[in-house]
């Protein structure tokens, strides 16, 4: 039994009125923080501390890492969507002047299942020699029948991507796949979630709404490609890698190469995006390390844009059938969803648990299927499952509200149990001017405007295997250390704020050292969990190191340590602030050059909803409500998103400026998903024809709407900081909000993504096809 004590925490949504909650907390945890208004740095707009380095180009990304003697690696990839490898002779490549290592990643007789699948890799003195070495590899591929379209893959006579024995059983990245599901043809599933009695629920319904929705395959399109520089030496392995999880990659490498953890180091400094696609070591990471081991030299492997598009993960495409039953007052009686999705040759194409958790409905059923096609493996991408799932369900709810003659917000007030989202709907409606919303298609003229709303739901994830260290040096300088990586969100700045708040310093006074497994394990940056995981132990460590410093200061100030506080760069007596010592003078009293505290994360004080080995989920899910205003040109089919109001919660906000940035990024990604992005596979050749950023279209500056972000302060008394994440909720609601706004504009529902002009014109019956 660990010792505990009882504390009273402020709790509730600050904007809606605060109460308190009493918690039994571990004795070593710091005292409750008051609401942000009473804190110095927490919840404030602190600009990104490394912002200047980013805009001046000083930040070092993995693609910038150059080591002495470094080799350049490249892949030979399967050129066909389905093939048998007949021959693989690497002798000429190995013999080539300047080639230092060649490895085969497939053997003759192997079945290759997508265009772009790695077959062999080389490391050479220069990228040019590496390309020559690839050309010198004698590889023969026997073409086999293939299928790249999900609907075609579901047909009974479709070419099989796998036989039943070879089909993947689990998903190496993203969500765990349900085990033991049947595989028939190219279809695996269904994965079933059921509660209550859906048939009875539909029988009891006054109104039943049905709809079919389709979402495209989206690629992560990280601006920085997947990249690694592997440096294998006799005394250990150092890897520089653009990764969302330094300590996870370290574990993978140690296990794979039989190295002790203390001989593997993983480093990342600047990072140009991951969005779920850089969560694991991956084939490319493993290959670079193996090449370095063979060559005895550092090896750089960075994918080019074409490789990024065909073999660096993607968000699976889906087809969803929704059926909703409701009473006249809006109460849901039944919700049934059948979905098929494709993650190419991989699993993980479900539409998540969005529908399962967001609305109160006693009778519920989802049947989710994975469909294999001959295309690159999908993986987790910003709100995996929930993003396509919200696109379908939030449109179905919009349809239901119209059929019931209820305002979409009023319907949600009835069926949505989340207090946070209720408040978010209220605030968002006010900001967007919801009362201006007209009936569908009511605008006269060719350009019609409309307004729509959709909601978000994501788990409050926490990594429990997390630690960090705070050091105070004798000159008064302070360091915060963790292997946690900044994938672009600004976690380093957030860490500096937490330490500065505790020590009474400014964020700029704190040197944050992160992105290196030499430091305490910081957990992954995926699943919207980084801030939730790292800030509580950081605050605890800072509190402990301050207590140690305070013991020295107390002697000097003739006070008891508990009488002291750290404010405005000084250690002072609370009751007599005139009796004080500058922080640096207090540090000068230390008996050693530095003091340090390492802390790991305590469980959430009220426990968790669910626990995994190294991670957990907090009791309350993350919400988020987004409103979109669009203009649709009914004669060109062009949709312009003019404005988005995004209202979100993430527990206690630590840095509003960075949170707003992240929400803007999520919204922009959602606009891009809604209107533009789509992987185009040529059905006859099985190849992706837009494997670039020219015809694979990402929203740019001209497509960016006015984005207004509101972040609630939702205190729960759950941890030392009470902070949770925002990355994924910020993306989930955008596409359905836009889709609902488009419906409100034109009075015709678009049910597939992306909503390009051809789709709009077809829906309006202006193309001779519909």
């Amino acid at each position: 039994m660990t010792a505990t004590r009882t504390e009273i925490f402020s709790a509730g949504i600050v904007e809606a009125g605060l109460g308190t909650v009493t918690r039994e907390i571990p004795a070593g945890e710091p005292p409750p923080w008051p609401p942000n208004a009473e804190l110095t740095w927490i919840g404030k707009d602190v600009p990104r501390l490394n912002g200047r380095d980013k805009v001046t180009g000083a930040t070092r990304y993995t693609v910038d890492v150059r080591l002495p003697g470094m080799l350049h690696a490249r892949f030979l990839r399967c050129p066909l969507p389905s093939a048998e490898l007949r021959k693989l002779d690497t002798a000429a490549a190995t013999a080539l002047d300047g080639a230092r290592a060649v490895i085969a990643l497939a053997r003759p007789g192997d079945r290759l299942r997508y265009a772009g699948q790695p077959v062999a890799a080389v490391a050479a003195l220069s990228p040019g020699v590496a390309a020559e070495a690839l050309a010198a590899i004698d590889a023969e591929f026997r073409p086999l029948p293939f299928v790249v379209d999900m609907d075609e893959a579901r047909a009974p006579d479709a070419p099989l991507v796998y036989d039943e024995a070879s089909a993947p059983k689990g998903n190496p990245s993203g969500f765990p796949a349900a085990p033991g599901l049947p595989v028939v043809g190219n279809v695996r599933g269904p994965a079933v979630v059921r509660r209550g009695d859906p048939a009875q629920g539909f029988a009891a319904a006054d109104i039943v709404v049905e709809g079919e929705y389709r979402t495209q395959v989206q690629t992560h399109s990280c601006l920085e490609p997947h990249a690694i520089v592997a440096d294998w030496r006799a005394d250990g392995l150092t890897v520089y890698m653009s990764t969302q999880f330094t300590s996870g990659v370290r574990q993978e490498l140690a296990a794979l190469f039989g190295l002790p953890l203390n001989r593997v180091r993983v480093v990342v400094d600047g990072m140009g995006g991951g969005f779920g696609s850089k969560s694991q070591l991956g084939v490319y990471g493993r290959t670079a390390v193996e090449l370095s081991r063979l060559a005895g030299l550092p090896v750089r492997l960075a994918l080019d844009r074409h490789e990024e598009q065909i073999d660096a993960g993607n968000r699976p495409g889906t087809f969803q059938r929704m059926r909703l039953g409701a009473k006249r007052d809006g109460t849901l009686t039944a919700l049934a969803i059948e979905s098929h999705g494709t993650a190419g040759v991989a699993l993980g194409a479900g539409i998540g648990f969005f529908a399962e958790r967001i609305y109160t409905c006693p009778n519920f059923e989802t049947l989710q299927h994975d469909v294999f096609v001959n295309a690159g493996p999908g993986c987790a991408m910003r709100g995996p499952g929930n993003t396509p799932g919200a696109y379908g369900l939030e449109q179905a709810i919009d349809t239901l509200s119209e059929r019931l003659g209820l305002d979409p917000l009023a319907l949600r007030d009835r069926i949505d149990p989340s207090k946070a989202r209720r408040e978010e709907r209220r605030i968002g409606a006010e900001r967007i001017g919801w009362s201006r919303r007209h009936k569908p298609g009511a605008d006269p003229g060719a350009v019609k405007r409309g307004m729509g709303v959709a909601q978000s739901l994501w788990m409050s994830n926490v990594q429990t295997n997390v630690a960090c260290e705070v050091r105070v040096l004798r000159d008064g300088s302070v360091e915060a250390l963790s292997s946690v990586q900044d994938i672009g969100t600004g976690i380093g700045t957030v860490m500096a704020q937490v330490v500065a708040e505790v020590l009474g310093l400014r964020p700029g006074d704190i040197t944050v050292r992160i992105g290196d497994t030499e430091f305490p394990p910081g957990g992954p940056s995926y699943g919207s969990r980084t801030t939730a995981s790292i800030t509580p132990p950081l605050r605890t460590a800072a509190t402990r190191v301050l207590a140690e410093l305070g013991r020295e200061a107390a002697r000097m100030l003739n006070a008891a340590p508990e009488e002291l506080e750290a404010r405005e760069g000084r250690i002072r007596v609370k009751s007599d602030p005139g009796r004080s010592l500058a922080f640096r003078d207090a540090a000068a009293l230390l008996r050693t050059d530095r003091i340090s505290a390492v802390e790991s994360r305590a469980d959430d004080y009220p426990g968790f909803r669910r626990r995994m080995p190294d991670a957990a989920m907090a009791h309350e899910d993350l919400g988020g409500v987004q409103f979109a205003e669009v203009a649709v040109d009914t004669e060109t089919g062009a949709i312009r998103v003019e404005r988005v109001v995004a209202v979100h919660d993430c527990g206690r906000p630590i840095n509003r400026l960075l949170l707003e940035s992240q929400v803007q990024g999520g919204v922009l990604m959602g606009v891009s998903y809604a209107l533009l992005e789509r992987r185009v596979m040529d059905r006859r050749t099985g190849l992706m024809v837009n494997a670039d950023l020219e015809h694979y279209k990402l929203a740019g500056v001209h497509d960016t709407p006015e984005i207004e972000v509101v972040i609630l302060e939702n205190l729960q008394g759950n941890s030392a900081t009470d902070a949770y994440g925002i990355a994924e909720p910020a993306n989930i609601a955008t596409a359905p909000a836009i889709a609902n706004a488009v419906y409100n504009a034109i009075g015709v529902r678009l049910t597939s993504l992306p909503m390009t002009p051809d789709v709009v014109l077809a829906a309006l019956g202006k193309t001779g096809r519909s």
């Binding site: 060109t636 062009a638 279209k697 740019g700 001209h702 497509d703 002009p757 051809d758 193309t767």
Partner: protein, 335 residues
């Protein structure tokens, strides 16, 4: 990208002599030298190894090729090496040929427009994703068939698309053809010739492997525009999937000569992203000539513009889109 030598001649004649190839971006595998203007498209083609030259001949060291001048009669000449930004912002262009300025200002993004040249823009190769894919050995690369006709053809041609369904990528060309521009070509002997831009472009029926009539050892040096007759009105409209930095799904240039009586004497209606070359919609022009243009004439012309179109499996939406753009461009020109 293959290894190549780099030459930087000081005169056009030297440049023409140095190259067996005709344009910045002609994909002709046997030829050994290519000209580099801005180098935007060239770099893409080199990276894709659709071009593997032994020599790249830089035109940037040649003085005066980027001049924009007006002669005594009021005609304007634009040097082929003038950047898209220079052309779009030049007072002579903005004043007399606003449709050209608009067409160019909407191309690519500012960084590219600051480097890309008007000559290079007219000579760039099509951006058909099958042509640009080394894995698709299409007709234009000496292969057996056009992959687009029965493939992913949403961005492809709706006219003259029975053999090869590329669309011409230049929006500047759409406006220039509507303005009856001429190109000036300079050969290795120092001789020059001029021909209408409209005749300069080559469709797949004439030669499936080239998009223009530039001859070996010839350099495009200037684009000539006649002084617009008084009463000339013009507009260029485009619609892309993105609001900027995107290829148009459709673009339309309209040039109308309106007499003092308000009657349309002459009309040019040209469709870009519609056909392998900028597509002159003669039926639309006829629908306008001799009429008092307005809503009704614009609507008639817009419908006429699409007559004879042969949309493919995925691009029938372009009919409605072009009809809208033609009608709106006519009305915009009149406004």
């Amino acid at each position: 990208m293959n290894r190549f030598a780099y030459a930087s001649p000081a005169t056009v004649t030297e440049a023409a002599a140095a190259t067996g190839l005709v344009a910045e971006a002609m994909v002709t595998f046997d030829e050994s030298a290519v000209l580099k203007a801005g180098g935007i498209d060239l770099l893409d083609l080199l990276k894709l190894e659709l071009l593997t030259p032994s020599v790249v001949v830089n035109l940037r060291a040649i003085k005066g090729l980027d001049a924009i001048t007006q002669d005594a009669a009021g005609n304007v000449a634009i040097g082929a090496m003038a950047t898209l930004s220079q052309v779009a912002e030049h007072p002579l262009v903005r004043g007399s040929y606003p449709a050209l300025a608009t067409a160019i200002a909407g191309a690519a993004g500012p960084q590219l427009r600051n480097v890309a040249t008007l000559g290079g823009n007219l000579l760039q190769r099509p951006h058909c994703w099958y042509l640009r894919s080394p894995a698709h050995h299409c007709l234009r690369k000496g292969g057996g068939h056009c992959f687009a006709i029965h493939g992913e053809n949403q961005y492809h041609a709706i006219f003259d698309n029975h053999a090869c369904a590329i669309v011409h990528p230049s929006t500047a060309a759409t406006a220039l053809v509507a303005l009856n521009a001429e190109v000036e070509l300079h050969d290795a002997e120092g001789a020059t010739r001029r021909l209408p831009l409209e005749d300069f472009f080559v469709g797949p029926d004439d030669d499936i492997q080239r998009e223009n009539a530039l001859r070996p050892r010839e350099v495009l040096t200037a684009i000539h525009l006649r002084k617009p007759a008084s009463g000339t009105r013009m507009a260029h409209l485009r619609q892309g999937e993105k609001a900027g930095f995107d290829w148009p799904l459709a673009d339309v240039a309209v040039v109308l000569a309106i007499g003092p009586d308000g009657v349309c004497r002459e009309a040019s209606v040209v469709l870009g992203a519609a056909a392998p070359v900028p597509h002159r919609a003669r039926a639309a022009e006829q629908a306008l000539q001799g009429r008092h243009p307005g809503e009704a004439a614009a609507g008639d012309a817009a419908r006429a513009a699409l007559r004879g179109a042969t949309p493919l499996s995925l691009n029938a939406y372009k009919l409605a889109l072009f009809e809208t753009l033609v009608r709106r461009a006519i009305l915009a020109a009149l406004a």
